[in-house]
Amino acid sequence: MAHGSILQPQDGAGDTASVAPRRKRKRVLPGFHLTLGYSLFYLGLLVLIPLSTLFFKAAGMSWDAFVTAVSAPRVMATYRITFGASLIAALINLVFGLLVAWVLVRYKFPGKRIVDALVDLPFALPTAVAGIALTALLAGNGWVGQFLEPLGIKLAYAPAGIVVALTFIGLPFVVRTVQPVLQDVEKELEEAAASLGASRWQTFRRVLFPAIAPALLTGFAMAFARAVGEYGSVVFIAGNMPMISEITPLIILIKLEQFDYAGASAVAVVLLVVSFLMLLAINALQAWQRRLTSAPT
């Protein structure tokens, strides 16, 4: 019914996980036009309209005012800490999230279901609660902090605390995107590789990694994007020192406190655009990766 239309979907659903060979086929579900219209409408309603108001607010100021607002030294410092800490946190999650997913998929142990459920807790917890809990834990008189501070490791009220908070809120993204894909990789594949004389590292690098790489990247991108906008868990633990541990969302809030709506929107726009560009780049990377892995061998 949708044949000959200009709106051909590029790929079926589940593009993150499509390890099966692709082929052109007739769509099983009818009503593509209707559902596409619905998707666009829904996205517009929920995402584009609210975000566009940001751009309109920022458009109220002159170009010079915009540049001054978004490039003040104190604001620039927050970009460094926000994007830097988000990147580090997402990288930590990339490694340890994969590990967690691996253990959850490949091993059986008592209490596994509980561990599995625990992974989602950062999703469910109000982030401010997480921030207060982490601060209580890591402050100089906290359970953990009291042992770390004598060693010169200062986590609460320091940039390192921001990384801790962002790692906490980002963990489920990597685990939950990698887990199902890993589940799909059959154990026999590894056994076959082993029987052909591959070492464990070779098996991981040549057999497993290509299969889960797109999912890993997706998880990484989502954890990163989430961290960039995170506010609640960070403000309690960061110490919020200008030029050192202020995050960009806090600067936006401070500008709002001063009734500087335009300035706040301007900084928010920068945050959005940079995040969007990074997500696009990661998507492109993924597409490229998929082409590599789906190429005939």
Binding site: R74, G140, N141, G142, F259, D260
Partner: protein
Amino acid sequence: MRTAKRHFIKLGLATALAAAGLAGIHLPAAAQQKIDLLNVSYDPTRELYSQYNPLFAKHWKETTGGDITIRQSHGGSGKQARTVIDGVDADVVTLGLAPDVEALVTHGKLINEGWQKRLPLNSAPYTSTIVFVVKKGNPKGVKDWDDLTKTGVQVITPNPKTSAGARWNYLAAWEYGKRKFGGEAGAKDYITKVFANVPVLDSGARGSTITFSQRGVGDVLLAWENEAYLTLAEFGADKFEIVYPSLSILTEPTVAVVDKNVERKGTRAAAEAYLKFLYTEQAQELIAKNYYRPTDEKVKAKYASQFPKIELFTLDAAFGNWPNADKVHFADGGSFDQIYVKK
């Protein structure tokens, strides 16, 4: 998956419609017999108003025979002002400083000009001041403002950009620096040294109190006098003590009726009575018991021992007025920003 989603959408729509319907039917009927007021306030008044509200409700019942419920909302003063501008239905605002109320005039057109003259004493029914809270025994020997610049003394204060209390802290310190270290240049140098000793900037007064008293960070907490007493009451006078500096600022939290909202809701009489009652002896007692400085002379005399006499200066005397103080110190590029961003 698809059916489940559709089901949820239906459910959501149904709930929303039901809620809207209920509200529509419910509200006018309720408004006739019972008045609801919303008091949007700032952080440290939480305890005061939770005690004041029943007192006023009782008074309202006695004088008018009607029932009244007052809800209260607390948070950083500036943030609270913004929520009202953005549409929270506040009947009265009782905020930490006049500019936050003034913002409702200039940004929201919610309060009429000249609000500060409508109630006695510039619409400040109670005052307070800024004091130091230190650990019991005062191990670092902090006696006055200049001790805050000593090496090894960590000072806890919220961020003046987001907290009313922090602005009072900052201005009190500035004026001390100005008097002691020779004018504006000396004050700037002094305040830079103070903030070099600040390890954490929370966004609100309550946050700073928690950082200091519960997380054990810092040696001196700059706090509202009433917040300092609450800290002692909450965590024990065996852990902390209050130090009065030689000079401090007279803080004037201001209150106002939100004209536009009360006119729409028809609650003007109740809202005005609510604020006026703050000036009565009964309410002033309660205010003093919550460690705010009463303005009623009789109550003031009764509680004189609770509020040590120190030299207090007013903001207007030292900085002219709020718009001026804001512009010089807290606007982007003001003296506070200059502490952190070296030119």
